[in-house]
Amino acid sequence: MVRRRIAFGVVTLFLVSVVVFVATEVLPGNAAYAVLGRSASPARVRALEIAMHLNRGIFDQYWVWISGIFTGRLGNSLVNGLPVWGFVEPRIVNSAVLVVLAGAIGAVVGVALGAVAALRKDGWFDHVTSVVVLAVTSLPEFVVAIALIILLSTVVWHLFPAVSLLPPGTYAWDAPSLLVLPVATLVIVIVPYIFRMMRAATVEALESDYVEMARLKGVPEWRIVLMHALPNAVAPTIQVIGLNFLYLAGGIVIVEYVFNFPGIGQGLVDAVSTRDIPVIQFIVLVLAAFYVVVNIVTDVIALLATPRRRIAR
């Protein structure tokens, strides 16, 4: 089972790399022209084509690119000529800090709120949180981010910096106050999904036959909740927490841009606006690989966390 998932993952990643390659190099519109602009002199276009290996066959080009990724030869940025890895590496670290912090805080808050809402189903807490959550789920990240900036760093209060500019060569943990607003934005955006799933799964478990049975046997209510209902609500919630890490892979793009946080999301936006193709290719591939790996990991964990399935194996 696990091995099959991993094999599927590798195949998916291979296909993903083909899509990235095709989208950036083979689609209509020569990449060299895209970088230099329509008015570029033929000689310059020719030189860039050779530098980007565009003068070779398509399969050759793909091979040069993909083998470069495995051997650490990512090439140089088309904008400033510096190595891609040097540009991307600190950004991967910073983004990872952001994603892990937001994911962990979001999971704890979402699971706790969801469980409480389900246990007090149809009470005032359940009603209020359900409405608030529905509204927040609909909001784009940049609207949440702007609202936080207005509230906490410019117009109303001045508690946290509105931009998270890090001095070059430093990492995110060197300036924790810069992390507050980006992490808070991401947490606000992901909590509703975890909340909804945890609530639905707990409600389902509480209405199940085994809980009914336990009640009839006279098992105390706290024991029913802790020992019977919640463990069975955990597996679907783990899936959703996994989905949220996947969501964060996309969510960081806008949030990092809003706060000028030096992560791969902001790097990707910059690279797309300057058409820095080697950087775009690598960052998109990193994000997709993250996606595939998280998917496999959550599937395996959910499998291990479902009592029924563990026995069935």
Partner: protein, 295 residues
């Protein structure tokens, strides 16, 4: 058929959530549609001070160039709405066709379609759109197509599992025994039974389309300045938040009201039709988990 839709829709509107959602969304749509005709100034006319405070003549003040914020808000929504509607239609049509074919044809077609779905799903939607924009630049038609295509896999998954239930029913078997061609079975027999899940998906995808397209505009991949656009306005004017916050707050509120409206209405609609307290995607996830392992 048509009456069915009508009665379900009006049942959804009669719920409190449905009424609120429809009201909010309609308000924003009205502003976006009527706005361009009633805007007091040309949206790119430099009529007041940079980040000028609101005054009797310029109710929401000036933006970063001294353009009238009221006029730009009135003029800045319709392109977003058209693009979001087209992207949603594209995603539903493509994803629906893929999902129905995968479930009905089974075998190799199913394998190929769902493999493609897995590959596209590995890209976060916004990243997928950015990837497609990287070569040709931010053309509006390309953004619309990219967002539509990025919706298709999610739609395909939900519709595939809905179709699997329908294909088991007797009337499908009966049509097959009469020698109806597969394409005709799918269109005439199966599709009419997928109206509710398709409409719920359409509502969800519309919300996400608005989120992604306005997000791309915010990142600078959309209409180029000086065109008015709610997403772009937020990003243009945020340097002047302390001088004239309205130039940011009002366009952000328009986008927020619109997405809250469409999402809340979709939620009401889903409760009425499917009768569950959760989204199709969440329901599909629970189904996945309750299946026997190894399938």
């Amino acid at each position: 058929m048509r009456q069915q839709w009508g009665s379900v829709l009006s049942a959804a509107v009669r719920t409190p959530r449905g009424a609120i959602g429809l009201g909010l969304a309609s308000f924003v749509v009205l502003v976006a549609v009527i706005g361009p005709f009633v805007a007091p100034h040309a949206s790119d006319a430099l009529v007041t001070l940079d980040f000028g405070k609101p005054s009797g003549q310029y109710l929401l003040g000036g933006d970063y160039l001294g353009e009238d914020v009221v006029s730009r808000v009135l003029d800045g929504g319709w392109v977003l709405l058209i693009m979001a509607a087209c992207a949603t239609a594209l995603g539903i049509a493509g994803g629906g066709a893929a999902g129905v074919s995968a479930a009905y044809l089974r075998g190799r077609s199913d394998g190929i379609i769902m493999r493609t779905v897995d590959v596209i799903l590995a890209f976060p939607q916004l990243v997928f759109a950015l990837l497609l924009l990287s070569l040709l630049g931010p053309k509006l038609w390309l953004i619309t197509i990219a967002v539509g295509v990025s919706h298709a896999p999610q739609v395909a998954r939900v519709i595939r599992s809905a179709t699997l239930d329908v294909t088991e029913r007797d009337f499908v078997k009966a049509a097959e025994l009469q020698g109806m061609r597969p394409a005709r079975v799918m269109v005439r027999e199966i599709l009419p039974n997928l109206v509710s899940p398709l409409m719920v998906e359409a509502g969800l995808r519309l919300t996400y389309s608005i989120v992604i397209i306005s997000g791309l505009a915010f990142l600078g991949f959309g209409q180029a300045p000086p065109a008015p656009n709610w997403g772009l306005m937020i990003s243009e004017n945020r340097t002047g938040l302390t001088l004239n916050p309205w130039a940011v707050i009002v366009p952000a509120a328009m986008i927020a009201l619109l997405t809250i409206g469409t999402n809340t209405f979709t939620d009401a609609f889903a409760r009425v039709t499917i009768g569950v307290d959760r989204r199709p995607e969440e329901a599909a996830l629970i189904d996945d988990l309750s299946q026997e392992p190894g399938t």
